[in-house]
Symmetry: C2
Subunit: 229 residues, 2 copies
DNA sequence: ACCTGAACACCGTTCAAGT
DNA sequence: ACCTGAACACCGTTCAAGT
């Protein structure tokens, strides 16, 4: 997803130029400025820990004029939308991959789904904040974003219903409500982490992933009908 | 907490001037500019729905020069800290008041605590976002913020331990973990609301409070040991 | 003691002009 | 077709100068 010239621009892979067309070196006039802006913005966000990156600084780092990005993005929100889309695709791929490796029981796949979401949020905290807060871009303007999110949401509801009919999950609560409850808990855990609230709860950054996964496991186990796991 | 001249400046309460000292009308040179800045910033945030308000716009609305607020706030973050402190005091007062009116059983007081938190977040969505995201101010630099948050957190853990020893809550999970789980769920619900994610889950803005309270109730009931409520 | 208003270094965004 | 660079209207912040 990240283009090859990014590797070159960081001077980490001396052989990267072999894989590039020679005539596009240090020139973004041939159709790849769009991706360069996205990659550099992501890089900048990861470095600073702030999802609110400046288009001017992106342009500066790429070595292009301040107005150039506006050839490829209508405004700041459009760039943020593109970044949010890439991050959401990563979530979707992660979820799909992990689901294939999960034990088949619906309640275990539900647990796996939660773990995937947590891992995604903790691995890409800045992207997660951008995507989830939805203040720097127009969520409803992106069909891709909507469809990826709906897919994850529908998978959650479906797994809850399956786990209920498999007798592993309480069935005295509507599946939609149970799904929202689980999602809220997982979302809340991820947000407490990126919002820096876990320190107050005695959870250091090193232990965050392990601790949150254990907390999610306790939640799911608490809602099991057949207690033995 | 809001000063009287704010009511006057909105022209909604024609008798407000009776309650003011006459010689301070339209003059902020006598020690009340600080509070005026806080009140106007809060007002602006509530109107726009954006917690990231501009100091220049606040000054403009008050009718003061752009540099004036810097007499009372070291920088933008210091103003945000003051706003966050006021919002957190409101949470603390709300929690204390509701606890006094709650049924005495620890598990019911835990439920009440969750409802208070939800009500606070839904009543002041912009303040909640400011306070919780912690990106526009320095949380650790405010002893008041830290102490209010610690008080709510400690109350949560204490109530969980009490509910466990009263036999109403599963005791096979460490109280700190159970408390973090409940807090994450409630925090996640509140954030899903202010982040505009509830629409995707079939919950309209009108039904949000009722639906989230019911979801929280389902969570607590799911963790009861004595099922009958 | 408190506020003014110009100044500085930043933004996002637009647009004629260049290649 | 794509980018430059000046321009405009905004920011936060500083500070000499005023009252």
């Amino acid at each position: 997803m990240r283009s090859a010239y990014i590797a070159q621009s960081t001077h980490c892979q001396p052989f990267a130029e072999d894989t590039m067309p020679n005539d596009t070196t240090r020139r973004y006039h041939h159709g790849n400025l769009r991706q360069a802006v996205i990659d550099t913005a992501l890089q900048l966000a990861d470095e600073s820990g702030d999802e609110r990156i400046s288009l001017r600084e992106v342009a500066r780092r790429i070595g292009v004029s301040s107005g150039a990005p506006f050839r490829h993005f209508a405004d700041h929100a459009a760039l943020m939308t593109a970044i949010a889309e890439e991050a959401t695709v990563r979530l979707r791929l992660m979820v799909d991959r992990d689901q294939h490796q999960s034990p088949p029981a619906a309640i275990e796949r539900l647990r796996t789904l939660g773990h995937s979401f947590l891992a995604w949020a903790l691995q890409h905290p800045t992207s997660f904040r951008l995507v989830s807060a939805r203040r720097l871009y127009d969520f409803n303007a992106s069909p891709a974003l909507k469809s990826h999110f709906q897919a994850v949401r529908e998978r959650t509801v479906t797994l809850v219903m399956q786990a209920q009919s498999e007798g592993d999950l309480q069935h005295d609560v509507a599946p939609e409500r149970l799904a929202l409850m689980l999602r809220s808990a997982v979302y809340g855990m991820a947000r407490m982490h990126v919002d820096g609230q876990l320190a107050q709860w005695g959870v250091g950054p090193r232990a965050a992933r392990r601790e949150l996964q254990a907390t999610l496991d306790a939640l799911i186990d608490g809602f099991r009908r057949n207690r033995p796991r």
